[in-house]
Structure formats: structure tokens, C-alpha cells
Symmetry: C2
């Protein structure tokens, strides 16, 4: 018998909702705009209303929710969410269970993305996997023995805060030299802006409407494809740092798969080619050889599909 699972991915601008099957294949999906100014209970009620319109919903027994921030997955509490400033100590699990009469699981979006990558990109055929989410920040999730690994306090997988330079860039977390400060969106853009003080780049300027403040990673990828010097430098430097992060993951955890997802996973191939070169130079040969590195094909679906599968984790 086929089982049906409902996933809810609470983003800062959109709430994605989907019903998936046993293998996280999306059978039905919908979205809801996020009204960050609304009361949490109002948003929860809106979600339930939307969910009730899904034709597969009557067959769903379990619901999973992924949300950015500090999440107590055991008690089902959203302690704090950066995208939803009004959400402080919200008993999301309890409220949703009351309204849906179904069992609800919640977790942070890095973990749900890892579960999503395990099912959608790897079809559940990995044993030990690390998911590397490259976006504004750098997040991560760990699958060990086919299950999500949460660690002692549910914060396992904070790979964005692995130090790659002892006395490097100051990070918001309080540390210095976190990988996030070298390959996060802000740094990529800053890095281009700095380089452009010395090196002219008509290509980037044109793509950014002649406004350096409008530079985005997407523009840097487009410029890189056009052989722009600055853009190439930015992706090369970032690729080196990504390679160091991946080497640490390989040498430490020796996973059989690494899945790279998030907005920056769509960057120019120079970024990844540089990273792979660094791995060849730096990582243990056996660890590198036994790991398949995959760029996710489902970045925008990982959260909602992985949330739906939380019940299995």
C-alpha cells in the first residue's frame, strides 16, 4: 500500500506545501505567500486551510514542517526563526496537531533539505551523506546510516561555521574564518566589488545596470561565462575555499555522498571545477574516491520533500 506524507517548507517569502509518496516523489503541490507580519497562529490556520484543498490530503497520516532557525524538534517548538521575526517559542507541532488531527514533526530547513536530497537526488541509495547548502549562508545536514543525524543538541551539520582560516574574516556567529564568510552570498558580492576597484569589468557593470550594489551571484556567473576576469577570480577564490570545506568533510566523515544544493549550487562551473581540483590536491585519496559529489537537481523541492519525510527520521 502506498503511503502519503505532507510536507510544509516555511520560507521567508513563500510556504511550499506538497504531498509525497514513500520515496518523497511529489504527487501534489501548492504554495502560499508568507505574511511575516501576521501572528503565528494566523499563519498556521492559513496553512491548514490551504492543506485542506489538496485532493490527496485525506490519505495523509503524517505531516512534517521545515523552518529556518533554532528549532526544538523533540518538543516541536520554533524557538526563533530569522525569516519570521514574530515566531518566538511557537508550539508549532502542538498547534498543527490540534488543527489537523495528524501527527506532526518539525525540524530546521538544513535538516529537511538533507533528507530531501537523500530521497530526490540519491533515491534513498546512500548510507552516509552530507548535504551542503550554499546560499546567503552555508548550511548543512548529515545523514548517517540512512537517517538524519542531529547530534547532542540538534545543531549537528553547522558546516558553514567550520574554520578555514584561524584569524580570518569575522563571522556573525562570533568566530573568525568560518567558511561562510568566504563563500556566502555577501562575501561573493563584496569580493567582486573589491576586485573592481582595481580591475575594470564592463560585463559585470552592464549586467548590474551600472550599479555595483546590484551585483548578485547570478550576475557573477553570467559574467564568468563571458570570460570576465573579475567574475572568474571571484569563483576561483570561492572554489578554493569550497574545496577546503569539502576536503574537511571527506577526511572527517568519509561519506559515500555529498550533495550540494542552494542558490549558489547553480553557480558557474568554474566554481566547482576549482573546488574539485582542491580536493584532488588536499583530500585523502581513498576518502575522495569513495565519495560521489552531486549537485542537486531539485534545490527548490528539497525542503518540502524532506519535511514530508521527517516521520521516517
Amino acid at each position: 500500500m502506498l503511503n502519503y506524507y505532507l510536507g510544509i517548507d516555511m520560507g521567508g517569502t513563500q510556504i511550499k506545501i506538497a504531498v509525497v509518496d514513500d520515496k518523497a516523489k511529489i504527487l501534489e503541490e501548492t504554495v502560499l505567500d508568507t505574511d511575516a507580519s501576521a501572528k503565528p497562529i494566523t499563519i498556521i490556520k492559513n496553512i491548514v486551510e490551504k492543506v485542506n484543498t489538496l485532493k490527496y490530503y485525506t490519505k495523509v497520516k503524517f505531516i512534517g514542517v521545515g523552518i529556518a532557525g533554532d528549532i526544538d524538534s523533540v518538543k516541536g517548538i520554533v524557538r526563533f526563526s530569522p525569516n519570521l521575526p514574530k515566531w518566538k517559542n511557537v508550539y508549532l507541532k502542538k498547534e498543527l496537531e490540534k488543527l489537523t488531527k495528524r501527527k506532526v514533526f518539525i525540524d530546521n530547513d538544513a535538516n529537511t533539505s538533507a533528507i530531501g536530497a537523500f530521497w530526490l537526488d540519491l533515491k534513498g541509495k546512500a548510507t552516509n551523506m552530507v548535504c551542503v547548502a550554499l546560499g546567503t549562508g552555508v548550511g548543512g545536514g548529515i545523514i548517517i546510516n540512512k537517517k538524519l543525524y542531529r547530534g547532542a543538541s540538534g545543531t549537528a551539520g553547522e558546516i558553514g561555521h567550520i574554520t578555514v582560516e584561524s584569524n580570518g574574516n569575522k563571522c556573525n556567529c562570533g568566530n573568525n574564518g568560518c567558511i561562510e564568510t568566504y563563500i556566502g552570498v555577501k562575501h561573493l558580492v563584496n569580493s567582486a566589488q573589491e576586485l573592481m576597484k582595481k580591475h575594470k569589468s564592463d560585463i559585470i557593470l552592464k549586467l548590474a545596470d551600472n550599479d555595483k550594489n546590484k551585483i548578485t551571484p547570478k550576475i557573477l556567473s553570467q559574467a564568468c561565462a563571458k570570460n570576465d576576469f573579475v567574475a572568474k577570480q571571484v569563483w576561483k577564490q570561492a572554489g578554493e575555499k569550497l574545496g577546503i570545506l569539502l576536503t574537511t568533510i571527506l577526511n572527517f566523515i568519509n561519506p559515500d555522498h555529498i550533495v550540494i544544493c542552494g542558490g549558489i549550487s547553480k553557480a558557474d562551473k568554474l566554481f566547482f571545477e576549482t573546488a574539485y581540483k582542491e580536493i584532488n590536491k588536499r583530500a585523502f585519496k581513498t576518502a575522495a574516491k569513495s565519495c560521489k559529489i552531486v549537485i542537486s537537481k531539485y534545490t527548490n523541492k528539497l525542503g518540502v520533500a524532506g519535511s514530508a519525510m521527517l516521520v521516517k527520521n
Copy 2:
């Protein structure tokens, strides 16, 4: 009914042998000098002879062996061991099983030490643990869900080769900036020798018989206890780097316990105090708070006790 397990820890100078109980408590132990020039089969036969003299041996059903190097724990082959240059592709498991009529398990010494630390230092009361072995090199072993975690190719836990400086010291592994090149024995000694070019240290020189080449980490700890400037600098610098390594472990794996063992775990307290200060500055608060960091009290017993427990892993 009490079970009895035999552990064999194959070191470069000594082979430790012990019978332990269900909780890795050592009931009986003995040692054998390692004759690295002898043929592997001769050493194996000598071990079996020695084992036969143990009074609890008749009750033993399972044997475990820990050995440094590249070990195929699935097939039971010692591919290569740095301490025993004659050991190349030795079918240790097969040979020992033939001679002892018992089931034999083998693994590398970093993994057996981790199992030993889990039982002896933590009494089996940890869930997710990382063992950090500080000595000539920096090794590690990972326990996840109370079991040894080996990864995709059995090389998980190579924490000595986590990069802490992108363009740092050249490491034997081929990488640059591995933590091992900052807190391994060689670097500690080099570091003192370098500092002594600028700063006189009568205390260190006296302890080293006026010969800079005789400086050891032990001498640096003794000098540190006597408030020697150079020794204090060495341990402070190394402590900072150790703190960065521990921060990466905390942020990435979020373990409930870290056990630090190996010769350098007996270093002056300034080394550890500095590391803990770095953790306070750098690590995620929840990850740091939920992890107990323990200096092993059983460094010399971990390998033999952990080897004996391999059957449970």
C-alpha cells in the same frame, strides 16, 4: 553470564595483550616486545603463544586487534603499517583465526582507541563521541549511536587532516594547513626551537641537557610549569589551534562527548585552558554546552581495551 574478550594492541615497540569483560574492564594483561624485523607470521605465532599463557584465555570467544596504518577491517587485512614496515597485505584476521580457532576482528588504532575511550573513560554512557588522539600525529575516531563509525572506506575520523589554515604548513598527506602540522610533536618542538632563536630559555636548555635537539613535549610541559616564556608561548599557540579543531568538531558533529587522549594529552594545563577559551569564543553555544570534553585517564590502555571490544562494533 560474564563474557570475556581478548584485545591485542600492536604498537611499534610493544604489543599489549589483555582480557577484558563486557564493559572493557581489564581482567588480565601482558606485553610482548615488538620485533619489527621479524616476519609477520613469526610475530603472529609469538602473540598466540603469549596469549595461551593467560589464565582467562580459555573463556575468550572473540579476539580484536588494533594496529596503526591502512587496515581493511572488512577483509581483515593489514595493507600497510608505518610501525611495522614488513607488514604489507598481511591476512592478519585469517592467520589468527586459523591459529586460535576464534573469531578475530581487526581495525586501525585510532578506531580501537575511540572504542576504548567510550568504555573506559565514559563507561559506555555516551551516544555520539569523538576521540581526539594527540601524539606524533593527530588521529581520531568517531562513535555514533554508541557504535564505531567507519565511513564509506573506513577512513572516517581523520581529524588530523582538517585544514585550519588554507595556505598553512605543508603536511605529509599532501594538504596544506592540516591541524596536525600545528599541534603534532614535531611542530611543538620546532616551534620551541624557533622561539629560542629570539628568546633565551635556560629552563628548557637545562632540561634538554643543553641540546636543542633533545627538546620533547614533556620538557616543554615541565618548563611551562616553571613559567618559562618560550614553553608558555608554544602551548598557547598550540592551544589556540586545538581550540579551533575542537570548535570544528563541535559545530559539525555536535557530539555529547569529546575524549582527548595520546601522549600530548598529558601536556601542561595551559594548552587545554587556551583551547577551552577558544571554544568559548568560537563555537556555537548550544553545541559547546551540550558536549563534555574529557582528558582520558587511560591513554595507555585505550588501544588494547578498545581492540577487545571490536566484536561489538
